[in-house]
């Protein structure tokens, strides 16, 4: 089965062609990152315009590199959300137009399902599995008992992990996107600052706004006393507490559901502090982390997720398929 997939939920315009959910024939990613950098983050309206500019070219390139004809494509898969509404609509409408004019079925895919299924390109999934989804906009702990069967065990009640990292970076003046810098500096400091308990007890939900406020207050108080903040130590303290809660809840979920596999997905999967802690603490189940090129947004992962979604549900969408800024995985 050959799938053409489309992803445009944020700042990458991407089209991929993939056979049987595993052989990536092409995966073209046009990143807008340099355009948005000047604004300190993705600007929705600019993102939409750039998607419009790039999408036709990305479609053509994906088809050319895969070297297949349009009538060989069995299914179109497209990210329907969550994401920036204007950006999503461009991918959805382009995918619909392509599907309609070539008389191919279409399925709308959840962006996070895509991030999770990026891991299936690295290794065959074994169930039950626990997936920790961590990114600028998401923090979720997902249980999968079989293919395309998701159960959300918990999620953030306020800020996402990546967002909390960026806000801490903002508080100590590290600029944007500060998350990766906090991660780096953390390795040069010691976790000497006392951080609040953010474990929230037995729930699988997360909360990072409390530690954010704590860091803000701490920095404020240190400045009032005319003392210097030890930024590496602050980063190390923050990183230790945050990665600890992520890994501890993951381990609890692995044990409770007798998971055979653990994986991380999403942009923060690249965080070295988190990876180190996972290495140290999770060793009785197979651990997969996505290949770097599939960590960031790309259409290949949507193609893989779309493949398993179709196998499982046998359902397709119709021309009323629409983008949505916020939809649940389950």
């Amino acid at each position: 089965m050959i799938i053409l997939s489309v992803e445009s939920s944020c700042d990458e315009t991407s089209v991929s062609i993939i056979r049987d959910g595993i052989n990536v024939l092409s995966n073209i990613v046009l990143s807008q990152i340099d355009i948005h950098k000047a604004y300190g983050g993705v600007v929705p309206e600019i993102a939409s315009r750039e998607h419009i500019k790039g999408i036709t070219m990305v479609f053509e390139k994906a088809l050319n590199i895969a070297n297949i004809k349009k009538d060989e494509i069995d299914l179109v898969a497209v990210t329907k959300g969550p994401g920036l509404i204007g950006s999503l609509l461009i991918g959805v409408n382009a995918a619909k137009a392509f599907a309609f004019s070539n008389d191919i079925d279409i399925v709308g895919v959840h962006h996070i399902a895509g991030h999770i299924y990026a891991n299936a390109l690295t290794k065959d999934l074994v169930f039950p599995l626990i997936c920790l989804v961590v990114s600028g906009g998401h923090t979720e702990l997902i249980l999968m008992k079989e293919h395309f069967d998701f159960r959300k065990l918990g999620e953030t009640m306020d800020d996402a992990v990546g967002e909390a990292y960026d806000k801490v970076a903002r508080t100590v003046g590290l600029g944007y996107p500060g998350g990766p810098l906090v991660d780096e500096l953390a390795f040069t400091g010691e976790p000497n600052y006392k951080m609040p308990d953010i474990s929230l007890g037995k729930t699988y939900n997360f909360s990072f706004s409390g530690i954010k406020s704590h860091v803000i207050n701490l920095v404020h108080n240190i400045k009032q006393r005319n003392e210097e903040i030890n930024i590496p130590d602050l980063c190390a303290s923050f990183q230790e507490t945050v990665s600890e809660v992520l890994v501890t809840k993951s381990i609890r979920a692995i044990e409770e559901y007798d998971a055979k596999m653990f994986m991380i997905a999403g942009g923060v999967a690249a965080n070295k502090g988190l990876r180190k802690k996972i290495d140290e603490r999770i060793n009785n189940v197979e651990v997969i982390v996505p290949e770097f090129k599939y960590c960031t947004d790309n259409a290949a992962m949507i193609g893989v997720a779309g493949y398993y979604q179709y196998l499982k549900t046998k359902k397709t969408d119709n021309m009323r398929l629409n983008g949505s800024s916020r939809i649940d995985l389950v």
Binding site: P44, I216, R326
Partner: protein, 149 residues
């Protein structure tokens, strides 16, 4: 109309949000100001809950806007990143839509917002204490009275 009030705890913020929740109508525009960690999202979670929204309301910072469907939709925005850029046309239809629109860091797009709006500034006094500065313009003048006592 301008009022100030002190909030001593998260619980009091919830009570305050419930009062605000009683005043919403289609096209309601609520602008929030206050530093990082002041409690803008915390307030909005409580407001959404009081409007009957049961989905998890969490921070819109990353996507800039999250839409929650309900009897009245809640369009929750954080326009921090639009500083120096101003209004984003992808967002505009939701500001002028018929849901309840809550905008964190609204000053970044103030030029493109309508005159008539409710503005709440949250100032951090200490860990749990907040000072609210509430101002209503046009039809929102009345609302300030209703929510500040």
């Amino acid at each position: 109309m301008f009022k100030e009030m002190v909030i001593n705890s998260v619980k009091e913020m919830d009570d305050f949000a419930k009062k605000v929740g009683k005043t919403v109508f289609p096209g309601y525009l609520l602008c929030l100001e206050g530093d990082l960690g002041a409690g803008k999202t915390t307030f909005t979670k409580f407001l959404g809950a009081s409007m009957g929204i049961t989905d998890m309301i969490n921070s819109p910072t990353f996507t800039i806007m999250k839409i929650y469907e309900g009897t009245l939709d809640l369009n929750h925005m954080d326009v921090y990143r639009l500083s120096g850029i101003g209004m984003d046309y992808d967002l505009e239809e939701y500001v002028y839509g018929d849901g309840v629109c809550v905008i964190e860091w609204y000053k970044n797009i103030i030029e493109s917002l309508p005159e008539e709006k409710l503005v709440i500034e949250i100032k951090i006094i200490d860990e749990f204490k907040r000072l609210l500065k509430i101002e209503g313009f046009g039809k929102y003048e009345e609302i300030v009275k209703k929510i500040s006592n």
